[in-house]
Symmetry: C2
Subunit: 521 residues, 2 copies
């Protein structure tokens, strides 16, 4: 009784505490929606750092956080950081109305999750909506992520989170069937299966609206590699039209407003490499759901140096994907793949693009061709487009008969690329190169994904599209001293030197050893 | 083996990646140490948002976080926010050296805490040092706090955290004995026992270097009330000198660099009201340890509307204080007190100050006098200054014989206040006032701490020192319609009106009821 009247009064007081302020534009980004008030003035008005306020200018309004300063704003002024005055379309004329807003409901739900309670779908939706409305501070979102990590999430929660994330963005409406999709957990150098799979699947008469990412720590993402040939940023209705017309596309997910909340969640997860399993599942499946996927294959690489090291863990993740996919209406098959070593020969945007093109021409690196056919075949069987046991050979024949290549050129052309002279040798690569040869004979026992990515990045990848590493051997090869190991490509001599120094400091290529260690007194 | 060589290379690459940049001063506070690089330029150099960098200018250096922008910095420029260029003493001349720094070790320890592991003292020290050096982002610290909350902290961890926090600030060296201290968990309106206790304890020949806080959500903190009489901000060596000379002081803790890390931790805890018990204990005890306290009394109010509602929880907290205090060399007695209703008559800086002065004059509100004597007596007995069972009466006699008042005036004078005409009626209070009378007869059953604080704040407290509420009755009083309930004081008519509207909206004074509820079909 007292509590409820207290809440009523608090709201009443807040409603009264509306301030009219003179805007002062601060041409600096704050990294979020932040307004600055004069410290003394704010305290007089019972406003403190971190308070949430509704900020109105003419007909627009946003929710922002308050910061205090003695210098940046005089009493009666409001300092608007770049993001705020851009969002409001504010100028120095007129006045800004500021109103305190109450503590968002999400905070109670985040605390409940901290306490170990299970959240309902509506509560998760509130957290995601408050995230999108910028009502939650970085620390509050981090507390939510940490709680999800420690407490875990059950299947209902993951489904609720996924549906909430989907609802924050647009959804693709291709209006055709079957809609197929694929996803790879990542971590393997090279591995440009998407560029081979999408044309195979489209050539087989299916629809695959593929969104891909750019490199974060790798030498190239699919979007980086595809961009050496054509545009990868397009509005959602263009993407719909393309897939409806020619069956597939390869675009950069970052340019499209699908599953918008996910970007905000990723920003929180990154610094701590904090990926609660449930959030990871939601993040991936929300993107699949947003494009309308009905069938999806998930590539889960396992091995030393990639995200998962353990078969049991990989199997558990696969099962989660499958059962949550089912709840969302997506039929999923997960393939646990060998992630120990790079796939393909090239590492870097243009070099990986050349590998993919070579596969589409019916040649290309054996492992990339094989893996692309495995994944495509699985997807075709899953959707019923191919009979059980025939998927792989259908995929392989679409590579061999040139239909996948023709489909790929159609996709590149639709996305604004030039295809007349396009082939696996036409893609420009760095004009500075250096060959690294073996210093001793023996058998190659391991190629390290992370170290090779590091060398390719030192060459200039992914920003320099032609930069990277081209491998001349793979794990298991028996080589002689003097045999070529790899070529480094760069777009400047300085970067090539740098990459060479990086290479020399480490053991990216491991040779089989007889004596593993020696000890004496 | 590969892992270690990988790490080595990464460090090597980082060491190579030193950039010389042209400083651009951004006269805006970022709320932390943040530098801005041009997006394209940063990506070329393999630097991304949130990377930690060492920033050097001439002989100074700091650790900052990278933010990227297309507009705020051109390639080769570095935008320095206010906090950064102030810390570096940078001008637009010369160059700024930037070097990538590796992921701080703390992150591994934070993750370990997330996983449920117990941290060693050295690991906690690293987290606190990285916090002080600004190496951790808000989200990372929030993840640490959340993990401490969910996983809990054992006694070793709390002791380690407390000692780490103490080490981040200065420590007081009074060079006398015994050093006494007190702390209240808070939440009770009025309750200005500190201003009565400090002079009692000092008059008894002990030393009490008291730091107090300002109001956050209440109508006045001790520092706010004391400030109506004298200065409360002083450098640490002045505080040492004062306590050594006259036995006591009452200063604002926020102005002194004691337990510096605690301010940063509080900033993280505040938005979520996230107070992991272990962190709360550390935060309080670090301040006691920093002033060199040997004996300390902790006031733990319990009841509806204060932080603790439950005797069992209060007892558990008391036991934690005692045993962790012991490990830190502080002998603690915890008193669980009745926190249901306000203590004293005044609510607001000057009105509370008047209550304290009245007690020191040998009069004053019965409950405030009683509680102050209880707390002081406990402290005198604890330190051995008073024999068991005599503390209360010694405290009371120091109030009655004027010695505590004389000591208080000495303290006020030392802190720059005027004492010649000082008495409980001389402290100026708001010139606008309004009397609220009872609308019906009956017994007062409850006075609500939070609601009364809200009314006092609407009057203008704590910024307007003379504003607040003066209570004419207390819980249990039998009153008649028309009897005075309370007076509201404000420094402007507008605020008085506002406070009255706030009062009318709620039930700050509850009267005993016979019928608690009625129900029918």
């Amino acid at each position: 009784m007292v509590q409820s009247s207290y809440r009523k009064v608090k709201e009443e007081v807040m409603r009264m505490r509306r301030l009219s302020l003179k805007p002062k534009l601060l041409d600096v980004m704050a990294g979020g929606l932040v307004v600055v008030l004069n410290s003394a003035y704010a305290h007089q008005n019972d406003i403190y750092t971190g308070y949430r306020v509704i900020v109105r200018y003419k007909k627009r309004q946003i929710i922002a956080m308050v910061d205090l300063s003695n210098d940046l704003a005089k009493p009666g002024e409001i300092g608007l950081f770049y993001e705020v005055h851009k969002a409001l379309g504010a100028s120095t004329h007129g006045t800004v109305e500021l109103e305190l807003t109450s503590r968002p409901q999400s905070i109670e739900y985040i605390k409940a999750k901290m306490e170990g309670k299970t959240l309902e779908a509506g509560q998760i939706r509130t957290i995601i909506n408050d995230t999108m409305d910028n009502r939650l501070a970085e620390g509050e979102l981090a507390a939510f992520m940490t709680s999800c990590y420690i407490r875990g999430m059950n299947e209902d929660e993951v489904v609720g989170l996924t549906e909430s994330i989907v609802a924050t963005g647009e959804t693709l409406k291709v209006g055709k069937s079957p809609i197929l999709d694929k996803h790879c957990i990542g971590g393997v150098a090279g591995n440009r299966t998407t560029m081979v799979m999408v044309p195979i699947v489209a050539a087989a008469g299916c629809f695959i609206p593929k969104t891909s990412s750019r490199a974060i720590t790798s030498a190239a993402g699919t979007a980086d590699a595809m961009e050496t040939l054509c545009d990868v940023s397009m509005p959602i209705h263009e993407m719909e039209k393309q897939v409806r017309s020619i069956g597939g596309c390869v675009v950069w997910g970052g340019a499209i407003n699908l599953a918008a909340a996910d970007d905000k969640l990723i920003k929180i997860r990154t610094p701590l490499s904090l990926a609660p399993k449930g959030v990871l599942l939601s993040s991936i499946l929300a993107k699949k759901k947003s494009v309308g996927a009905q069938y999806c294959v998930i590539d889960i690489p396992v091995g030393r140096g990639v995200k998962l090291n353990d078969m049991a863990e990989a199997r558990a993740l696969a099962k989660d994907f499958i059962s949550i996919g089912k709840r969302l209406g997506i039929t999923i098959e997960a393939l646990i793949t060998n992630g120990e070593d790079p796939i393909g020969n090239g590492i870097g945007p243009a070099l990986e693009c050349r590998d993919a093109l070579a596969c589409l021409e019916g040649n290309g690196p054996r492992d990339l061709r094989d893996k692309s056919c495995q994944l495509s075949g699985t997807l075709l069987e899953l959707s019923g487009k191919a009979k059980k046991g025939t998927g792989y050979s259908i995929a392989a024949s679409l590579l061999d008969n040139g239909k996948a290549l023709a489909k790929f050129k159609q996709i590149v052309e639709w996305q604004g690329g030039e295809v007349k002279k396009l082939n696996s040798h036409s893609v420009p690569i760095g004009s500075y190169h250096h060959r690294i040869t073996a210093t001793r004979s023996g058998r190659v026992s391991h190629l390290d994904n992370k170290l090779l990515a590091r060398v390719a990045r030192a060459c200039g990848a992914p920003a320099d599209k032609g930069a990277g590493v081209y491998l001349h051997m793979e794990k298991g090869d028996l080589i002689k001293a003097g045999d070529p190991l790899m070529d480094l490509y760069a777009e400047s001599e300085g970067k090539l030197d740098m990459a060479l120094r990086v290479f020399e400091k480490m053991e990216a290529v491991e040779m089989e050893k007889v004596v593993l260690d020696s000890l004496r007194e």
